[in-house]
Symmetry: C2
């Protein structure tokens, strides 16, 4: 049953630049803190990771936004840090402080101890969640799998958590780059195996989040972030039992480097809100699909503003296929869910 044809395959078609009846929409972090029903479930477990590690609850949370809004995709509820967690770096989430690793990677000995996680043994809970969600979804919409980019994962592993200046990883980049390349190679292999397991379990598309690649110089971005994403793209399984599985690369702050991103062979490029989607389309729209790119803060606006800004993006993209509507980054946790409904209706209503 989970591999019968999708009822709604707009997302997949748009990612492959095939004709669609209307622009599909989903929302980064659509399952999350802005939903009261999510906060309810979150209260029932001691910490954030235990929610990710419980396939039944991860499934429940994944489906919550689909009950409220007419979205064209579900996205696996999980976290990009599952991989470093599986590598034994001692991940925990301090209240209000974000992720912290007890055993950050700082020197050659630390790097030597790193191993590609065994997906079945170390990340089986994620794959179980994918399977559980696929059954629960009943093919209403596609399921998106995801992972962090090697560079972005490495920032957390080397900094030991969130960072402002990325001093430690950049010190490594500019003083012992070969050590950083070892970490990134290992992460690229890990992400490839991890995403392929998600695809085999039924993910219909996969997205790679490069949240911090935009803080590199152009040559450093190409060498330390994009190269590894390209390796992953090359190593991804391209079809599963349900058909073609497109991939999406998203680098926040990568607007200057779109041509390079499109040249990796990915199917789609995720756009943050700083770039005009019309300009992005003129630059790379003949090669790849585009996903985005409403400023998440527009959802603080009145319904009229939300409608106006959403329509502007649809107009800027213009005619032709290859657009997946989304925010330019994850939805903020203090957004009123009613505003999301306004947005989804505005995107759907654009065609009426």
């Amino acid at each position: 049953m989970p591999f019968d044809a999708l009822e709604n395959d707009r997302l997949i078609r748009a990612l492959l630049k095939q004709p669609v009846d209307r622009t599909p929409i989903w929302i980064m972090r659509q399952a999350g803190r802005y939903l009261p029903e999510y906060r309810e479930i979150r209260k029932s477990v001691p910490n954030f990771m235990s929610l990710c590690q419980n396939p039944k609850l991860a499934c429940e949370v994944t489906l919550q936004p689909l009950e409220r809004f007419d979205l064209d995709a579900a996205i696996l509820f999980s976290d990009i840090l599952t991989i470093p967690h599986a590598m034994g770096l001692g991940l925990h989430f301090a209240e209000g402080e974000g992720p912290i690793f007890d055993h950050p990677i700082r020197n050659a000995a630390d790097v030597k101890r790193l191993k590609v996680p065994d997906v079945k043994n170390d990340l089986g809970y994620v794959i179980d969640a994918v399977t559980t969600i696929k059954y629960a979804l009943k093919n209403r919409v596609p399921l998106i799998g995801f992972a962090g980019s090697p560079w972005t994962l490495a920032t957390y592993m080397i900094e030991g958590g969130s960072s402002k200046n990325f001093s430690k990883i950049k010190a490594m980049l500019y003083s012992t780059p070969e050590l950083l390349h070892d970490v990134l190679s290992l992460l690229a292999e890990s992400v490839t195996q991890y995403l392929n397991a998600q695809i085999n379990a039924g993910a219909n598309a996969v997205m790679i989040f490069d949240t911090w690649g935009g803080l590199l110089t152009e040559p450093a971005y190409l060498e330390f972030s994009l190269t590894y994403m390209q390796k992953i793209v090359a190593g991804l399984i391209k079809h599963n039992h349900q058909g073609v599985v497109p991939n999406i690369l998203f680098t926040k702050g990568g607007g200057l480097w779109l041509e390079h991103i499109a040249a990796t062979g990915c199917n789609a490029v995720g756009l943050d809100w700083m770039i005009n989607i019309g300009d992005a389309k003129r630059r790379i729209g003949n090669q790849v699909a585009l996903q985005g790119n409403l400023d998440p803060a527009v959802l603080y606006g009145t319904p009229e503003v939300i409608q106006k800004e959403a329509k502007q993006i649809l107009k800027d993209f213009g005619k032709g296929t290859g657009h997946v509507f989304n925010l330019g980054h994850g939805i903020h946790p203090d957004i009123d869910p009613e505003r999301v409904k306004v947005l989804v209706d505005a995107v759907k209503g654009f065609y009426d």
Copy 2:
């Protein structure tokens, strides 16, 4: 004496795209925490603002990096938040938390209470510092004055301090934009008067720091940040007793919008490290000078890496005038000052 001719006017000449014998260099936050002699002075006062408010100490700190390194400019030691402080918003710096305003701007009543500060009465300590520095500098190098951009100042005033998502100011932008425009107009007028007072006191160039403009959409950047910087540029005094006073606009993350920034009529555009300076020159180098743009994190690298990366920027800029070497953002506080010497020597040595 403070208005005799400058001994070293490379900075001014480069900002005006006039011929120079070599590319001038100065470093954002060159007077600051990475210098042990700065930390010594800082210990002698109870808090950061009292250092800014003491013209004698501000002068001493301003001159410290010039004693160590062969820099082509001094920059006033101060803070962009002097203006909101003078507006009575109750600024203090919490240990390790950055600036906090006790009375942030949240509604129409708050906005109504705001007034353009009287520079003489409310910001006289800054102007006194400029005068003190001019005497102490003895015209060895030009003195750069500065201010925050209206948008960037408004982020702190409305958020109440530093911010991750800029939720409050963006909520205002998307729900009551006219209120935000009132704040920004007032700030543009304040910054203009403030910079003109610095120019009259002897500043040889002025720079406007738009640290957070890069987190807007393109139309919002144009409407809520750049328009106000353009107003300031139009209102700036263009000559003082020492000659032409060029201005520099710097928007961190503004690489996609360089053409718009150059079109304001500014003399120079500051570049962060994410954009290739050669590309920037091809796009706007015929109109304006360029300042930048070494990744501040390169200073964590070995001397060889620092030399290589600095030379790459000089090569990327290529022949012709109109380049002021700098970092792409402020120097990190944990940088070894010896690395700065390596950088300055590399830039100077490029011509040997």
